[in-house]
């Protein structure tokens, strides 16, 4: 009864370990926060070190300028990266052709035409598409889209660039739609009203005022989606094939950079073989491609941001 709350507080304030904890906690948390930085460093170091080892076995010029990728050959192994890049670009091109018009149209519809109620229903459903595991998309490409394509175009092979391209496109639609819709919705309402008050139709408001005003966000969303398409692995592994080709056909089996890494990892390429190191060289190339895309997206959205 003799001690007041204030006395009790004063007693506990004196304890040393409490002050110690207050000093220690930020240090621990800083170490935890640096895990993400260490991860980046780890990725870059891993890729660089193992790629350098790869280049002690294969010349840099052969890798960078070669147009034949034949790692499993019994006679002459060839490590020219271009067929894998071409395979990746074929799939990405198809994906962009599918996803950009649909994604941006959906964004315009949701942002400019749809009522609040419709938007609140459709946007989450579209985002379900983004949450479906890529292995499921791969299965869908292989067992549905490819046979469907073959009924209309018999020249399409079991493994080809079109089917995974279409399905990668479906996968990145929500990314483009969602980010573009955010960019368009963030154009202030009073700018929309200004255009409507001049007698514009909704279409004119969308195309001539909102789209140009939101262009940086829309372009950034497309670039990010392209980056995602380039790095997509399971869809192309299942439906794209494993035939690296340096040509322009889309109906034949191809191989992307990511699918090559999977193909080698699945098999038992012994540790220390050239093939083992080659997946790091390919992974490094892939990493540079996607990193450039991500930096470009950040640059676009900062550099061309409109101020209202």
């Amino acid at each position: 009864m003799g001690t007041s709350v204030q006395d009790l507080i004063a007693q506990s304030k004196g304890k040393k370990n409490k002050r110690f904890i207050e000093k220690l906690i930020p240090v621990i948390l800083f170490l935890i926060a640096s895990v993400s930085v260490l991860t980046t460093i780890g990725i870059i170091m891993t890729l660089i070190v193992e790629t350098i080892t790869f280049f002690t076995k294969v010349s840099v010029t052969d890798f960078l300028f070669g147009t034949t990728w034949l790692p499993f050959s019994n006679k002459q192994e060839l490590y020219g990266i271009w067929p894998l890049i071409v395979g990746t670009l074929k799939v990405t091109l198809i994906a962009v052709i599918v996803a950009v018009p649909i994604g941006i149209s959906a964004a315009i519809y949701l942002s400019e035409y749809a009522s609040e109620r419709v938007r609140r229903i459709i946007k989450p459903i579209l985002e379900v598409l983004a949450g479906i595991p890529t292995i499921v998309y791969g299965f869908f490409a292989l067992t549905f889209v490819t046979p469907l394509l073959q009924t209309f175009f018999p020249e399409v092979k079991i493994f080809n660039a079109i089917s995974p391209g279409i399905v990668v496109g479906i996968m990145i639609i929500p990314m483009i739609a969602s980010l573009s819709e955010d960019a368009m919705s963030s154009v202030p309402k009073h700018i929309r009203e200004g255009a409507l008050a001049l007698g514009s139709t909704k279409f004119e408001v969308a195309i001539k005022v909102i789209l140009p005003a939101a262009v940086s966000g829309i372009v950034a969303s497309v670039v990010l989606a392209v980056s995602r398409a380039i790095g997509e692995t399971m869809i192309v592994s299942l439906a794209g094939g494993s035939t690296p080709k340096f040509d322009g056909t889309f109906t034949d089996s191809i191989q992307t950079m990511t699918a090559y890494i999977v193909q080698v990892s699945k098999g038992d390429a012994g540790y220390g073989t050239t093939i083992y190191y080659s997946i790091y060289a390919v992974g490094f190339t892939l990493f540079i491609f996607t990193m450039l895309m991500n930096i470009l997206a950040q640059y676009v959205s900062k550099r061309f941001r409109e101020e209202y």
């Binding site: 609040e116 200004g194 007698g199 005022v209």
Partner: protein, 270 residues
């Protein structure tokens, strides 16, 4: 307040119409936001080449009313209306009256300057372009004429290709007025156009309104009673969604007929 109902068939030959013509006639108009009865039995006649001011405390329905005149109010979901508003003798609520058509005749200037994030030139040329004018020379002329009309040509003539957000708020608002003038409207609606501006910019816009009334009919909502008395020919006092009093500005301010008007203009509430 008597009005001669002359037989003027719509807008094409408005230049020849006499100054006592009716632009807008509101008949027993009601408006609801959901269950909220925001405008009650409005009856008003607005005359050509006059400045009509609408005053009243916030929430009295003055902004809602002016936004109904070009049907911008319908952007709010769950808005219902009844009654009629005749613009040049045609009911703007008619099913076959397209809002886009109405709005090319009735320009609007908003509370907050809202230029498009485009160049000054493209802001002014936007309206004419969507209405089908593509000739660069004609567009140039329209841009100059509109900017001169909004008394801002001299300030921006050398920076027409700069973004409209690079100029001051007061200049932006006059750009928005020029943008409205560019579609050569019949009426200009102004919804508290000076509420976001500094006193000097406000003065410029007020002078401009005086200038514009020679060619246009202007309806201006303002929360500033001095402004209403300075620039308007007629004044309507709105309270709780009703028109309490609508008369010549001089009589409203010197000799209000209704006690509530008197209370308001003498600053006893609102």
């Amino acid at each position: 307040m008597t009005v001669s109902l002359m037989n003027n068939t719509v807008a094409n030959d408005q230049n020849t119409a006499a100054s006592s013509n009716i632009v807008y006639e509101t008949k027993q108009m009601n408006l609801w936001y959901g269950a909220n009865h925001a405008l009650k039995n409005i009856d008003m006649k607005i005359m050509e080449n006059e400045v009509t001011a609408i005053i009243g405390p916030s929430g009295c329905g003055k902004s809602t009313y002016i936004k109904t005149l070009n049907r911008m109010v319908e952007l709010v979901p769950s808005v219902k209306t009844s009654g009629e508003i005749l613009y040049r003798e045609r009911n703007i609520f008619d099913k076959d009256y397209r809002v886009e058509e109405l709005r090319t005749r009735v320009g609007m200037v908003f509370q907050k300057p809202n230029p498009f994030p485009k160049s000054i030139y493209d802001n002014i040329a936007y309206g004419p372009r969507i209405h089908g004018i593509k000739n660069k020379k004609i567009l140039d002329e329209i841009v100059e004429k509109s900017l001169r009309g909004a008394a801002i040509w001299d300030e921006v003539k050398d920076r027409l290709n700069e973004n409209a957000y690079g100029i001051s708020g007061g200049q932006q608002q006059r750009i928005c007025i020029a943008r409205a003038l560019a579609i050569e409207p019949d009426v200009i609606l102004m919804d508290e156009p000076t509420s976001a501006l500094d006193p000097i910019s406000t003065l410029k816009v007020e002078e401009l309104v005086q200038e514009l009334k020679k060619d246009y009919s202007i309806i201006i909502v303002t929360h500033n009673m001095q402004q209403a008395s300075r620039i308007s020919d007629k004044t309507a006092f709105f309270l709780n969604g009703e028109v309490v009093e609508f008369d010549k500005t001089d009589s409203i301010f010197s000799n209000p007929a209704d006690k509530r008007t008197e209370d308001y203009i003498s600053g006893r509430f609102g």
